[in-house]
């Protein structure tokens, strides 16, 4: 499958386009995200990186399915748990890792870190570390598209726990009353930090919350790329054609702990194992085999190639230069000064 592999120098826009090339490419991206997060976990555990990180293990299919259906001109907000989204949308492992390692060449110059990934070439706004904070911003981006009568779509990706914060409610209401081209995508991975959804939220089927805003909704298997694509495509089409916002609940599961130190001792016995049977990597692999697109050997080959590339990226990024001290004073507005964009 060498021909399916993007050069590591591919631009984020090219990497995005590649998702539409076929199921193999999407599988490869899933494998890349998985490998990236697993390696990151090791790097953090070994103390090679400071701060904290939030892995999206188990949530790869949602990110890839979503990214496949969006154009680079659509605008997306995400959260601190943003690596899968960023990689799926097209950021390279090198870009994401250099951000997480605080390197000078990173998209924010090493000033943002793990929780703040950004690449406007593919429509990814700086991801938000505050729960719920991205939603109003997505509403605003949708407003701009409607205002200018553009067919772009604004997308907010957020977690199940985030549906309990006021910003969720206000944003849904505002997008609905103004019929804005916004797609709200809730990654219901069953946990918000260390709390299972049933402890914080009186309903488990979060798509039901859309009814409060007379907003169309969908619930989808977030572990399955084709299912995600179908739901997103429908919502995106509705948005582009002036039909207003949609709320999509994707049922996923957080395979890792909440953040670095968390081993998730609070999980009910058997729950993880249950969900692992629907591991997105597994499902995608099975589908390729079942449809005769790739055989086991080819898959193993692809997986090892992707892994090797990631290993190489890690070694490269480790050696990249740190940002100069003076950069901490860059890109802060002072009135009167010109803008960067």
């Amino acid at each position: 499958m060498t021909e399916a592999t993007l050069a590591t120098s591919a631009s984020s826009v090219e990497r995005r386009a590649d998702l539409r090339a076929g199921a193999v490419q999407r599988f490869e991206r899933i494998v890349e995200i998985r490998g990236f997060e697993e390696r990151l976990n090791v790097l953090f555990a070994s103390g090679a990186i400071h701060g904290t990180t939030h892995l999206a293990l188990g949530q790869e299919a949602l990110a890839v399915g979503l990214a496949t259906e969006l154009e680079p001109t659509d605008l997306v907000t995400g959260t601190y748990r943003g690596h899968a989204l960023a990689l799926a949308l097209g950021m390279s492992p090198r870009a994401v890792l250099s951000e997480i390692m605080g390197k000078a060449e990173a998209p924010t110059g090493g000033l943002g870190g793990s929780m703040h990934l950004c690449d406007m070439a593919i429509g990814l706004l700086p991801t938000f570390a505050i729960v719920g904070a991205g939603l109003p911003v997505s509403v605003g981006a949708g407003l701009a598209f409607q205002y200018r009568q553009e067919r772009h779509v604004s997308v907010a990706l957020f977690g199940d726990g985030s549906t309990n914060i006021g910003a969720f409610h206000e944003s849904m209401n505002l997008a609905a009353i103004w019929k804005l081209p916004v797609v709200f995508v809730c990654d219901n991975n069953v946990y918000g930090e260390y709390s299972r959804i049933n402890l914080t939220t009186p309903i488990e089927d979060l798509h039901l919350r859309a009814a409060s805003y007379a907003m169309p909704s969908a619930v989808v298997d977030g572990m399955d790329v084709p299912a995600v694509r179908t739901a997103v495509a429908e919502a995106v089409e509705r948005a582009r054609s002036g039909g207003g916002p949609t709320f999509i609940e994707a049922k996923t599961y957080r395979f890792a702990g909440h953040s670095r130190a968390d081993t998730a001792p609070y999980r009910p016995a058997g729950e993880l194992e249950h969900w692992q049977q629907r591991d997105p990597v597994l499902l995608a692999r099975r589908a390729l085999e079942a449809e005769g697109i790739l055989d086991a050997a080819a898959i193993a080959d692809l997986e090892s190639r992707v892994g090797a590339a990631l290993d190489e990226t890690i070694e490269t990024v480790r050696e990249l230069p740190e940002p100069a001290l003076a950069t901490m004073f860059d890109n802060i507005w002072t009135p009167g000064e010109g803008a960067a964009r």
Binding site: H116, L143, E170, S171, I332, T334, G336
Partner: protein
């Protein structure tokens, strides 16, 4: 025209010249604004550009951020500054850092307008100035207005600025009348203070409502004070203030905020740092008391430093070279 009309004029002129300027807020469209600061704009620019919002400060402030990132120049009205208490996140932790967090990929040409202050009988939850909620935010410009002309000039500058700006509008001044020069020449520069009255005996730094009361105090007292209208609070115009105090040797900051956490301390601290050896006497602040804004009309009238109170303190300061006590101490009413 009245100050609120100057705001309308500024918005109107910006909207005429730039199709990406739009406004939103609670009842800014059909009703022309709770304080009539957008009267006629819906009629002229239509419902796409002038939007009434639900009561959702978090959502529509954040929508301003998102719309700005996506290329609009939104002007968001926060009816009373207090309402930012549920939406501060979007401005301080969000908008102000977007350029930094994107290494310049993202701009947020957003204006948030908020009415502030005492003097209208709205009680303690609708009368605070709360500048301190926003002043410690690198990347966020905090401006204010004091006259119809400054309202016009600051508002237009704020709309044009590529970064996020919050404009604090003293509610009690909305009805005040004054001449307004419209057009390019009426636009002010953000970050630049105005000398509202030149003078040599001492320097008064004021802002918003206290510009008016300070000018009246100067009038009453006959003291030849220089009155600086700060206009932009963050980042404030150090050059103008330092130059003035270097000349007068004396600084008095007149604030509407309570003594605790008030914005004037920073002016005093910076001036002291830079000009310590050339100061003729201690620089000091005349502030509101450390109390919620009272509802009762008489009591509320005492909250904001009144011209007579300012005049009394200035006179005593010049006469004694020492810092006078505020009225509540001087009158034995409350001991700080």
């Amino acid at each position: 025209m009245r100050l609120r009309q100057a705001i309308v004029a500024a918005l109107q002129d910006e909207m005429r010249s730039d199709p990406s300027v739009m406004i939103m807020g609670e009842d800014v469209a059909v009703a022309g604004g709770p304080f009539k600061t957008s009267e006629g704009l819906l009629e002229e620019f239509g419902p796409n550009r002038v939007r009434d919002t639900p009561i959702s400060e978090m959502a529509f402030t954040g929508a301003g951020v998102g719309a700005a990132i996506a290329g609009l120049k939104p002007v968001v009205e926060i009816m009373f500054m207090e309402f930012l208490g549920v939406a501060l996140d979007q401005l301080v932790t969000g908008a102000a850092k977007m350029r930094y967090l994107s290494k310049g990929q993202v701009s947020v040409p957003l204006v948030v307008r908020a009415s502030v202050g005492s003097g209208s009988g709205f009680g303690s939850q609708h009368s605070q100035t709360l500048e301190n909620w926003v002043t410690s935010t690198p990347g966020l410009t905090v401006a204010t207005v004091s006259t119809p002309q400054t309202a016009y000039g600051i508002m237009r500058a704020a709309v044009r600025d590529p970064g996020p700006t919050i404009v604090l509008e003293p509610r009690a001044l909305y009805a005040v009348r004054g001449p307004v020069e419209r057009g390019e020449s009426g636009i002010l520069r953000l970050g630049k203070a105005l000398i509202a009255r030149p003078g040599s005996a001492l320097t008064i730094v004021a802002m918003g409502q206290t510009v008016t009361t300070s000018l009246a105090a100067v009038e009453q007292s006959g003291i030849d004070a220089e009155v600086i209208d700060l206009l932009t609070l963050a980042p404030w115009d150090r050059e103008t203030v330092l130059e003035s105090v270097a000349r007068t040797g004396r600084l008095v900051v007149v604030e509407e905020a309570p003594e605790s956490g008030g914005w004037g301390s920073e002016i005093v601290a910076a001036v002291t740092r830079e000009l310590f050896s050339s100061l003729a006497a201690a620089p000091f602040r005349i502030t509101a008391p450390n109390a919620p804004v009272p509802y009762n009309r008489e009591l509320e009238a005492r909250f904001l430093p009144q011209p007579s109170e300012i005049a009394r303190q200035l006179t005593s300061y010049l006469a004694t070279d020492s810092v006078p006590a505020p009225w509540w101490v001087a009158e034995g009413i409350h001991h700080d």
